[in-house]
Subunit: 239 residues, 2 copies
Amino acid sequence: MTQDRNRGVDDPARLRGIVRDIPQATVARLPVYLRALHELAERRVGTVASQVLARAAGVSPAKLRKDLSCLGSYGTRGVGYDVATLAEQIARQLGLTQDWPVVIVGVGKLGQALANYAGFADRGFRVVGLLDADPARVGQIVAGSVVRPATELERVVAEHGVCIGVLATPAGSAQRMCDRLVAAGVSSILNFAPVVLSVPDGVDVRKVDLSLELQILAFHEQRKDAVRRAAGVLGAMRA
Amino acid sequence: MTQDRNRGVDDPARLRGIVRDIPQATVARLPVYLRALHELAERRVGTVASQVLARAAGVSPAKLRKDLSCLGSYGTRGVGYDVATLAEQIARQLGLTQDWPVVIVGVGKLGQALANYAGFADRGFRVVGLLDADPARVGQIVAGSVVRPATELERVVAEHGVCIGVLATPAGSAQRMCDRLVAAGVSSILNFAPVVLSVPDGVDVRKVDLSLELQILAFHEQRKDAVRRAAGVLGAMRA
DNA sequence: CTTTGTGAACAGTTTCACAGCC
DNA sequence: GGCTGTGAAACTGTTCACAAAG
């Protein structure tokens, strides 16, 4: 807070400082912990130690404890964490106790997969609009909703107070649709199109890039190959 | 290299040290640079300055230059980078100059979207098998290939020397299919199922979690709301 | 004069290890 | 005894600023 002393009260950085801030890396893991907690709750587990929860989430116990300490002290020393309480606290921090109306722009195979994805509905994300520019897709029923023409984007956003948009269009139309979402009032975008979107300040974009992930794997795979070859050469040299 | 002095030559960590290592964060950005370079090449741009390429890739020029310096000195001071040369070097580092046979396990909407995704074929990823446990899907044609029964997993992996597997199954069967992929010799897995996979050492897993990304956006969106409310309160107090 | 390549400062994240509480 | 919460240390990644090169 000290570094904000000379800012005005209207300064967004100052105002953000009022809310306790949580490191990016921690925020990205909270949903993982939440899922693990839901699984434990289903198995009627009442209390869990950091060791066990960490294993279920695929992180180290120390990291888990540090992450959870950002939310407050919800554990009991010598015992562990109450599964239900902790799940509730994480959900609250993530803003999942409220309902988030979402539009999906682009209803190809990927858009359809997203519309059908149970993980969305489970977490308070309600798909209130499926939009597509292709007249052949308009009118189809996907995941129980009718696909509407892209021209209705502004209407759907305004009608449901949509803040979060999912872009699953081809690369060519992603920026144009993004601009329209932002103009209509959407301030968070999940982008599946393989392009770098440009958006004004205050709009968050997260990108999921399918081919990027494979390329990273290819890098490591090639690296393993190189190591295997090097081992072979060194082995041969010794012989 | 100094810390490896007392390791044996068979130690994988030592052998990995022989290959020049590139920071994780840099590896994750190389595919983005590569895409930007391909776009520039299509527009017949021959040379590009870090400033311009950085903008196209959505990073800062300093970060771009530091990243590229890991690959060697392929720029010319006062001029910039040769688009074709740089693209080639990045592709080589990522291992995209070779062809990677890939299997997709689980051919629901998401699996179909992945099978049809042009970005894979473009980068040397060749889908050599579509597998599904559901008899209703077996035999269907998806992206020009026939869907085969999951029982053929081991045969397909062996036949094509598959190193990379893509998991797009429901959560319930992901770990089982993962175990079979690993047992068959796959050592890199791209996981779309919402579970934490456990794999032996030496196997790389990357996870793409659709609902996780939305939850992170919800967090930031809620945070913005809180800031807006705080601004409102402070504004009212002044009035 | 322009633009790269890079050491050095800085910022963010993870790990360690242990005090404090049950 | 067991387990959490947390400073301090170690590590990783980013930004700065400028010397070196064309």
